[in-house]
């Protein structure tokens, strides 16, 4: 699954994939490329379910991929509600599926 989703030959476009970044998803090791968003790196690794809905616990994947729809919210380095479709992947990130609304890190 991992290898076959990355486009190798394209008639018009060229994709620069240079630096590999290592990250953890649900405590397992994964790899993506610098310049990719978190959701893209996960998708390319075969991860489609990014979280679970608040009320009915339905699986959630991304939908718009441009930061509008909130379907891709995940917990990144402990911080909930990160729009993973627009946030760039970084080396060593710890990414988890979010269930429901997530807990705020700070309190009023």
């Amino acid at each position: 699954m991992k290898a076959e989703l990355r486009i190798k030959n394209h008639p018009i476009l060229e994709f620069k994939k240079e630096k590999i970044l290592k990250f953890k998803f649900e405590e397992k090791d994964y790899e993506g490329y610098e310049g990719e968003t978190i959701a893209v790196a996960l998708h390319a690794s075969g991860v489609k379910v990014l979280g679970r809905s608040e009320v009915k616990n339905r699986p959630r994947g991304f939908y718009c991929a441009i930061g509008n729809c909130s379907s891709c919210l995940m917990i990144v380095n402990g911080e909930p509600n990160v729009r993973t479709c627009v946030v760039q992947l970084e080396e060593g990130m710890k990414i988890e599926r979010q269930e429901g609304k997530g807990e705020l890190l700070w309190k009023l």
């Binding site: 394209h10 994709f15 990014l50 994947g61 991304f62 718009c64 991929a65 441009i66 509008n68 760039q88």
Partner: protein, 364 residues
Amino acid sequence: METVELLIIGAGPAGLCAAISAVSSGAKVMLVDRNDTLGGQLIKQTHMFFGSEKQYAATRGTDITKILLAEIEKYKENIKIYKNTTALGMYEDGVVTLARNDKYIKVKPKAIIVATGASEKVLAFPNNDLPGIYGAGAVQTLMNVYGVKPGNKVLMVGAGNIGLIVSYQLMQAGVKVEAIIDAAPEIGGYLVHASKIRRLGVPIYTSHIVKEAIGLDYLEKAVLIEVDEKWQKVRGTEKEIDVDVMCISVGLTPLTELLMQKGCEVKYVPELGGLVPTRNENYETSIDNIFVAGDVSGVEEASAAMVEGYLAGLCAADKIGFRHDDFKKLKKDYIEQLHSLRAGPESDKIRGGIAKIERRAQDV
């Protein structure tokens, strides 16, 4: 509080052109965009544009971005560009609040051009929230910006231009498009695109809808069903197809939240994608010095968005005291370009929609 002459929210095709137009009139501009890259959705449009030379016809969207950014570069001392900056609110006293890299910024511009674009619509059917069901723009972003396929077997829902173009792009990326469906009895997009796709062996089923999506944690199958001339399901016509991706290409809806918060008049105009602001021929809304351009003022194509941007930028700069030397000539030219882009019979709907939102022309 930062002082700003003209604030432009959104650096897609409309916002970039508005910025170019306003600075070349002599105004100082602050251009903000919530993304890390400028160009908005142009950056994933690998197809060549229609329209005329003035709207960069026969140039790919990805290359148009480079042309516009090179133009912006020429005026860089008069354009302050804030990337990764989200406009949070527009208030009664004229203040606009921005979040930039977790910092909260307040600005008070003399005029604002809202060019926030549009967001993808969803479609109602059982299990429409399963992962694997993505907006057409999302699929374009994934393949054309990041070089990752959305999956292996795709059902395209919607045979308008976007549905047809994205289907072709999926094939270019090596993805199998199992079928394209549309609820309407006829293909909505240009027949030149449809024929190209049919010749590559992809069936286009008109008068078909999604009855349901099937899958436990993600999409595994889609069930299609025919509809009759009254849009009712025809029992016994179900078709089940194995797909891991469903691409929803049923149009966009303007991102008008900021305008509504500010109190600009909006109307529900389905031809333009939903709630859209009313505006005059200068693209100024019901509130003085608040202008709009691009999809937020009614969903069309990027070609129209660029011309609207040039026009709104020209008029907004003029409104705050910076009249371009060729103001009258340029304004006439932009208005004529918009007329010609919307001239064909396929633009009947757009013209009808615009008639509903255009306020009486002002004397300029």
